[in-house]
């Protein structure tokens, strides 16, 4: 993961009719990562995204997207950035391919190239030929207009349309809404694979489990302010365990001598024994040293794991306080 910033905002502020929706926001998204933008409804996520696209002007502060200022040079930003709005809308009287070709046309892609890319992105999002064709009863191949699509198909078409311009950065606002579990899995796999193809992803969602599965780092917004920002595993430790690692070890009949030996390892803060399970709190990832100590004291090492923090725990911790 490179350290180049795809997005950075400085003291970004937006007010609607005197109400501050985004409040001095400082946000950094690295290139080629999946960034999760979280927060309750009305926290200012969509407004932040619109400002990054240059669709809305900030009241104060500045944004830099891929090195450009979206307010000053909106076209340069939009040429490389894809946006999937929360409520996707298509021209319902056109077919999926016609919709894609229109977007390609707006991006200045030639007709032949647009057709090629349309097939490519339709395949990527898993819209198959049998889904796109109307069952007319005869052997005619008539393409369905988007008006006849299901919610999930429209959602997938929305992703396809974002990808057709081969963007360097995509904003996805609630991309999994309306998809079935299989579709969600496919989409999450697709999103997780985008950074490898050189596309940075900013994902706004309420589905914490999904965010945790694909995102490298997150930012939580509340009332237009950034509550917390960083890599998920680091945030979990900071939020719930005072910045420490919680290591769980399963062995057989641990005695005081073993516990003493473990406590003597440099960096171990505390050791708690509960039946066969030892809960060890450390300052760093000391699994190597701990396993060595157990084996040297002739105890079997049955299982050892670093406790993982679910995003749900982190999220709830910050919103319980309010």
């Amino acid at each position: 993961m490179s350290e180049i910033l795809a997005i950075s905002t400085q003291e970004l502020t937006k007010r609607y009719d005197g109400v501050t929706v985004v409040d001095h926001l400082n946000l950094q998204v690295k290139e080629n990562e999946v960034f999760g933008l979280l927060g309750p409804n009305g926290a200012g996520k969509t407004t932040t995204i619109l400002m990054m696209l240059g669709l809305t002007e900030p009241a104060e502060g500045s944004v830099s997207v891929l090195g450009y200022n979206p307010t000053r040079e909106p076209l340069k930003v939009k040429r490389q950035v894809g946006y999937l709005p929360e409520r996707v809308g298509f021209y319902e009287n056109l077919t999926a391919r016609e919709n894609l070709r229109f977007i390609a046309d707006l991006n200045g892609i030639s007709y032949a190239e647009a057709n090629r890319r349309a097939e490519e992105v339709l395949k990527m999002v898993g819209l198959t030929e049998s889904e796109l064709i109307e069952n007319s009863g005869r052997n005619l191949k008539i393409e369905k207009t988007v008006g006849k699509f299901s919610r999930g198909m429209k959602q997938r078409l929305g992703i396809a349309e974002v990808l057709i311009k081969r963007p360097k950065l995509v904003f996805l606002d609630e991309p999994t809404a309306g998809l079935d579990p299989k579709g969600i899995n496919q989409l999450l796999d697709l999103i997780a694979g985008l950074p490898k193809a050189g596309t940075t992803v900013v994902l706004s969602s309420h589905q914490l489990y999904q965010v945790q599965r694909v995102c490298h780092s997150i930012g939580i917004l509340a009332k237009g302010k950034m509550v917390i920002q960083g890599a998920i595993d680091k945030l979990g430790r900071e939020a719930l365990a005072g910045g420490r690692f919680q290591i769980e070890v399963e062995t057989e009949n641990p005695d005081d001598k073993l516990i003493k030996a473990l406590q003597d390892i440099k960096g171990v803060v505390s050791v708690e024994a509960k039946d066969d399970i030892l809960g060890i709190s450390t300052d760093a990832d000391l699994r190597r040293e701990i396993s060595k100590a157990i084996v040297e004291n002739n105890f079997p090492l049955i299982q050892m794991k670093v406790q993982e923090f679910s995003l749900n725990d982190i999220y709830m911790k910050y919103f319980r306080e309010e």
Binding site: R87, G89, F90
Partner: protein, 301 residues
């Protein structure tokens, strides 16, 4: 912007709306021709303006083509523009299109230009249909001057249609609901085409009860605020060269009045204010919707 014009044109041409327009054009042309075939002999037009009679003479019951056009062009203009912006907004397509590398004004410019193109196709088709069949019917070829007059009529009609389309687009920017923008456009059309005709004489007689000629002048001044009336006067002068003025002519002058057709330059001189008025009205309408659209927030919901 070319991409947007292309898509809008493709949309129009494949829509049911367009089919209705084409039917309307055919029906209008047939009606106009029938009216002319009934009335053109009785109209007894002087040489040199006979061909124009095809468009302006009314039959025993049928109204003339120009009258029908002046009635229906506003409806067509409104039909082309009333859902231009707000249907995209409610459909969720506006934010998607604006997230593409296009300037925001390309969207509204593209829609307006595509509408003007459709209007030109319709009016052009109608004029050519009537000219062709009319030529067969009366066997009198148009003079150069008549061709120029017809072309000017075509241009003025396009501007008139563009005014109503601009107004409808303005309402579609202002109102979120398609029904609201349609109703407001139709209400204005009703006001300018019917109510102002009823109100103007009433106001005139209330303000200047003494003099009949002053009353007439006042009434006409009020009516000139209506684009419908502007269009009717402008096209009458353009296509009926016998018409010299709409104002009051003193009785002492009338004996010296020659009843021969005006030359093209003189006719244009008479309607120059009308034409500039119509053009500026459509420009104002479009400019207002342009500015409003550029300033609007693009929130998806």
């Amino acid at each position: 912007m070319v991409a947007i014009i292309r898509k809008e044109l493709a949309d129009y041409v494949t829509s049911i709306r367009f089919l209705a327009f084409i039917l309307l054009v055919i029906v209008l042309s047939i009606t106009g021709l029938m009216a002319a075939s009934q009335g053109i002999r009785a109209a007894n037009l002087p040489e040199g303006i006979v061909f124009l009679g095809l468009f302006t003479t009314s039959g025993t019951v049928l109204p003339s083509l120009t009258y029908l056009v002046s009635l229906l062009i506003p409806i067509i203009g409104i039909a082309l523009g009333f859902d231009a912006i707000n249907s995209e907004r409610t459909g969720g397509t506006l934010s998607r299109v604006l997230a593409q590398p296009v300037f925001r004004d390309s969207v509204i410019n593209g829609k307006f230009l595509a509408g003007v193109a459709i209007l030109s196709i319709m009016v052009g088709t109608m004029l050519l249909l009537v000219s062709g069949y009319g030529l067969r019917m009366i066997g009198v070829a148009p003079t150069h001057e008549e061709v120029i007059r017809l072309f000017l009529y075509f241009v003025v009609t396009i501007f008139y249609g563009a005014f109503w389309m601009g107004l409808a687009i303005l309402f579609s920017v202002l109102f979120r609901r398609v029904a609201a923008s349609l109703l407001f456009s139709l209400a204005l059309w009703l006001f300018f085409s019917i109510f102002i005709m009823l109100i103007a004489p009433a106001i005139a007689s209330a303000l200047a009860p003494a003099s009949e000629s002053a009353q007439y002048e006042l009434q006409r001044t009020i009516l000139l605020f209506s684009p419908n009336y502007l269009f009717q006067e402008a096209t009458t002068v353009l296509l009926v060269p016998l018409v010299r003025t709409f104002g009051v002519v003193a009785e002492s002058v009338q004996p010296y009045w020659l009843h021969n057709p005006l030359s093209l330059g003189q006719s244009i001189l008479v309607v120059w204010p009308h034409i500039t008025g119509l053009i500026s009205l459509s420009a104002v309408c479009f400019a207002a919707s342009y500015i409003l659209f550029m300033r609007q927030e693009i929130r998806a919901t």
